[in-house]
């Protein structure tokens, strides 16, 4: 049940190898999807994948349109599409496939040393002799790792502040003291503690919980878990889509709070 994640240390930070591989793979999948959908584009009646991509653009434009006027919203449609597709595909990766590899021999190039096997492995008896084995979950959702979601949220929030300052430094400073100077402390807490915590934790929590229950169900016997597993997989697909929508929506809300004048 317990999965070990190979890591390496560089520049005083710890890097999780499966998460790095999966986040790169998610980007490649998005790139392939977008390339396929925009190949052989026509200005006439769209066919096949072009239909799909036009729907995605319309969908994100619709989200942006709720919070800002069409002209401002159009500027952030690209950001919205990128975030939506990346998070959507990331969320589904751990649902559709859940590959685990079990190591009994050290493989230092993958970060599995004898030390790791001794420390994290659990004893299993094969043909009369006992070996220690370590299970590594190589294929999983990158968004089930808090580092990825905190990274995404940090980029988005810094970008929102940057846009606010770029648009009008005076108004940006003023909005911290609106509607009254007493609100300053609430604004600071909201911007620097609550937003950077809630945005990533919501995404991470939902996807991580989904993966934990999938891993838990997969460990059970087929007769007992097959029906709950099918239901839970279906629900996880739904949760993954909703979370991608929520992250994109909140990103555009946070940006609109900084760039739209009427508040």
């Amino acid at each position: 049940m317990e999965h070990y994640s190979p890591t390496f240390k560089a520049l005083g930070m710890t890097f999780d190898i499966p998460v790095m591989l999966m986040s790169v793979l998610a980007s490649i999948l998005v790139l392939i999807l977008v390339t396929i959908s925009t190949r052989n584009m026509t200005t006439g009646v769209p066919r096949g994948m072009q239909n799909f991509f036009e729907w995605v653009i319309d969908f994100v434009r619709g989200i942006a349109g709720q919070f800002m006027d069409a002209k401002t919203g159009t500027k952030f449609v690209t950001l919205g599409i990128t975030l939506f597709l990346y998070i959507f595909i990331s969320n589904q990766m751990g649902v559709l496939a859940n590959f685990n590899v079990t190591y009994t021999e050290p493989n230092p190039s993958l970060g599995i040393t004898q030390e790791v096997i001794n420390q994290h492995g659990h004893a299993v008896t094969h043909d009369g002799h006992t070996v220690k084995e370590v299970t590594v979950s190589w294929f999983k959702s990158p968004t089930a790792s808090p580092s990825v979601t905190f990274g995404l949220a940090l980029m988005v929030l810094l970008y929102a502040h940057y846009l606010g300052i770029k648009k009008s430094p005076g108004k940006y400073v003023k909005h911290w003291f609106e509607p009254s100077p007493a609100m300053f402390i609430l604004h600071v807490m909201e911007e620097f503690i609550i937003k950077p915590l809630t945005l990533p934790l919501r995404l991470f929590g939902n996807i991580f919980a989904g993966e934990v229950l999938i891993a838990f169900l997969l460990a059970g016997s087929a007769a007992a878990v097959s029906i709950p597993l099918v239901i839970w997989l279906g629900y996880s697909v739904f949760v993954g889509s909703i979370q991608a929508y929520i992250f994109t929506t909140l990103t555009l809300v946070y940006i609109s709070q900084k760039v739209v004048d009427d508040h």
Binding site: G62, I63, Q66, I194, T198, I242, Y245, I246, T249, L250
Partner: protein, 72 residues
């Protein structure tokens, strides 16, 4: 028309947001208050102040958010 299509999704987004926003604010207030209490040995006063402050923060944060969602 587009607004109507998005309405159920917006409801999901709001429901998914409200709980987390409220919980994070209250837990943060409680944690910060308790930390000050441990530091100054004034239990339980700053914990209570932090809790109320967290509630206020949660409500205010949600007000800002809901204002954007129904910002007409």
């Amino acid at each position: 028309m587009k607004q109507d299509q998005n309405r159920p999704l917006r409801a999901f987004a709001l429901v998914g947001t409200i709980g987390v926003e409220m919980a994070t604010s209250v837990i943060f207030g409680f944690w910060a208050g308790s930390a000050i209490d441990r530091w100054l040995k004034t239990e339980p006063w700053f914990m209570l102040i932090g809790l109320l402050f967290g509630l206020a923060l949660g409500v205010y944060g949600l007000y800002l958010l809901v204002k954007q969602f129904f910002g007409e």
